[in-house]
């Protein structure tokens, strides 16, 4: 079913980096102290830092109790991705780009395949197919709605809305049954209904040229869909009793999830900003504003993890990265080879600077040369997808972007695995002595 495979070198490098960092697994999240002291990883254990989609063969079963972190991060990754690939279909339809539209539809279908595959790894092939079938009604409704908007077809819009409005309840009911009550119908249905509303509002705003509104909606919806992944994963892993393994929501898992959220979003927003820059699209400014908002959140993360000066340093280095990517896009648009070379040189410098920063921040748990390679993969993905886009090879462009997004979740795993024990070693020790005993017996 799966049509892709993560580049072996990329996943191997990230795994090696993370294992060098602390020799631990993503599932051993209950004690970061022991993680830091564990020298090796059993060869039989899964690599800790690969994204869900990279980790296993499509048919390999997934035990939601034992592989709970993989399940959570996988569903967050894929549901979050659904927002971006769905909205790209809408945008391509509204812009009337047939070749581009084919590639965006492929990406949306691929995301649905991956979601269904993950469902199948837990529940088997029949539920996988059923889920795929239900989920597809969203795609059909979305495409029909975008088409109706572009043609000012009010009847078509109404029909598409009816299809979209039916989809949340159907999916929620199916997941409720599948998880034996682990997910409640209202919890899933309400989130999907809001998601559908977001897609509708995005389409209307984009069609009206209100790009600032459209891109704010896109980012909000991504957060919502990402959170839907958490909810569904909790329902699957917890089952009807809601008895979740401790690792499901451990501090380290939450950190990994948060990094995946922000880094994945960065990838998606930058892909769109670069495309808009290349086209000279009027939505560039609005998209770039959301890139900046994501950067601010990432800097906030580093600020809370390592202190305000680290937050400021990260913002500066990451800003070099974003600026260079936008410059590259502009240079490609104007066929400015010198400008392209300058941008690539800026990216290479960024990779070294951020690698050094992260290696230092994690007390050497991540090595600078290895990190630089991982960051280079990210830059390479972004450059390659733009180059492919510019030459009209939309299939390649969107496949590279698709995998680049998933690569971000591998990076998130790597970072959290190294940062976790670094931070744990710096935390205050134990409880506090905040009582004099004057009210002993009534406290």
């Amino acid at each position: 079913m799966r049509r892709w495979r993560a580049p072996v070198a990329a996943s191997a490098l990230i795994s090696a980096l993370a294992l060098g960092a602390c020799g631990c697994t993503a599932s051993s999240t209950s004690s970061m102290g022991s993680m830091a002291g564990s020298p090796t990883r059993s060869a039989s254990q899964p690599a800790p830092t690969e994204s869900m989609a990279m980790q296993a063969e499509p048919t390999s079963p997934l035990d939601p109790k034992k592989q709970t972190v993989e399940l959570r991060t996988g569903l967050e990754e894929l549901f979050g991705q659904d927002t971006f690939v769905g909205i790209r279909v809408v945008r391509s339809r509204l812009r009337g780009d047939p070749d581009f539209a084919q590639a965006t539809v492929d990406a949306l279908s691929r995301n649905s395949d991956d979601l269904a595959t993950l469902v199948g790894r837990v529940y088997g092939s029949a539920p996988s197919k059923k889920f795929r079938q239900l989920w597809e009604s969203q795609q059909e409704g979305l495409v029909a709605y975008a088409r109706a908007v572009s043609q000012h077809d009010q009847a078509g819009k109404a029909a598409a809305r009816r299809q979209l409005d039916a989809f949340p309840g159907q999916v929620a009911q199916y997941l409720h049954t599948l998880t034996a009550g682990g997910t409640t119908v209202p919890a899933v249905s309400s989130r999907l209904s809001t998601h559908v509303g977001d897609l509708i509002r995005f389409t209307d705003a984009y069609a009206a040229g209100d790009y600032a509104m459209a891109y704010r909606i896109e980012r909000t919806d991504y957060e919502r869909e990402f959170g839907l992944g958490t909810v569904v994963a909790a329902g699957i892993a917890g089952g009807p009793g809601g008895d979740l393994p401790a690792s499901f929501d451990s501090p380290l898992t939450r950190l990994r999830s948060a990094f995946g959220d922000l880094l994945g979003e960065h990838m998606q927003l930058v892909v769109d900003a670069m495309g808009a820059a290349l086209r000279g699209g009027p939505e560039f400014k609005a998209d770039a504003a959301q890139v900046n908002a994501d950067t601010t959140q990432l800097a906030g993360a580093f600020g809370v993890l390592f202190g305000p000066s680290s937050g400021a340093k990260f913002t500066s280095v990451w800003g070099d990265h974003v600026d260079a990517l936008v410059s590259y896009s502009g240079a490609v648009a104007t066929k400015d080879q010198k400008g392209k070379n300058q941008a690539l040189a800026q990216l290479a410098a960024f990779e070294k600077h951020l690698a050094t920063f992260l290696s230092t921040s994690t007390d050497g748990r991540l090595t600078a040369p290895g990190l630089s390679e991982v960051l280079h993969m990210h830059d390479r993905d972004l450059v390659e997808q733009l180059d492919a886009y510019a030459r009209g090879d939309y299939s390649t462009a969107y496949n590279v972007a698709y995998e680049g997004y998933q690569h971000m979740f591998a990076v998130a795993g790597m970072l959290s695995t190294a940062i976790g024990p670094t931070i744990a070693a710096r935390l205050p020790k134990g409880g506090v002595q905040t009582g004099g005993g004057g009210m002993a017996g009534s406290v």
Binding site: L94, S150, V432, G438, M439
Partner: protein, 210 residues
């Protein structure tokens, strides 16, 4: 080596649906340009894509002001917040005054990502102290934190936990997740007269509302 395989039938069907009558906003289908043409136009006609030249990535890192006051209406708490550091044994310093709470200033500031930690005594040697009724807080209760710049942040209580001090879950309480959270901590449980301290800690978890 091919990285991609063939497009599944479902995608083809969807694409067919999508491509039927293509047209951008306000365009007739026949007038819709392909994106290949759009890209070609962009490269041929533009020397500087609009917006790109003026774009700069955000470079500022803004912090919220430090906290100055704490108000918890449900349990009658209204106190200034003193700054707290770390003691030589690695624990968080506690307020010197029984009637004042404190903020652990080596952790996040309230309202920023991560768990901001506020401490207060449950009692003095003679009677109740500032966090005497902390254990009475219930999910949904409101906690207000005033900042030095006059801004007030509102948090909502999520849950209250009691932990033995000898099994204090350091990571659960202090580890910096990226949510904007508050931890209110005091003592609870039995008083160990030999050690002169309570055996438990009460931890209230709250999350930023506005």
């Amino acid at each position: 080596m091919s990285r991609w395989q063939a497009v599944p039938p479902a995608a083809v069907a969807l694409a067919g649906l999508l491509l039927t009558g293509c047209g951008g906003p306000g365009q007739s289908p026949a007038a819709a340009p392909s994106s290949r043409a759009v890209a070609a136009t962009a490269t041929a006609d533009r020397h500087e894509p609009p917006g790109v030249a003026g774009f700069h990535s955000v470079r500022t890192y803004d912090q919220l002001a430090p906290p100055a006051r704490l108000e918890i209406p449900a349990i009658g708490v209204s106190t200034p917040l003193v700054r707290l550091g770390r003691l030589p044994d690695g624990t968080i310093e506690v307020p010197h005054a029984w009637n004042k709470a404190g903020w652990y200033d080596q952790g996040p500031r309230p309202g920023q990502p991560g768990p901001a930690v506020l401490l207060g005594h449950v009692d003095s040697k003679k009677g109740p102290a500032v966090f005497y009724r902390l254990r009475d807080l219930r999910p949904g209760d409101i906690v207000r934190v005033g900042l030095t710049n006059g801004r007030t942040l509102v948090f909502r209580v999520q849950r209250t936990e009691r932990y033995p001090k000898n099994k204090f879950p350091t990571e659960a309480v202090y580890f910096p997740t990226l949510d904007r959270e508050l931890r209110l901590i005091t003592c609870g449980g039995d008083f160990d007269y030999a050690k002169g301290s309570y055996v438990d800690n009460i931890v209230v978890y709250a999350i930023l509302v506005t």
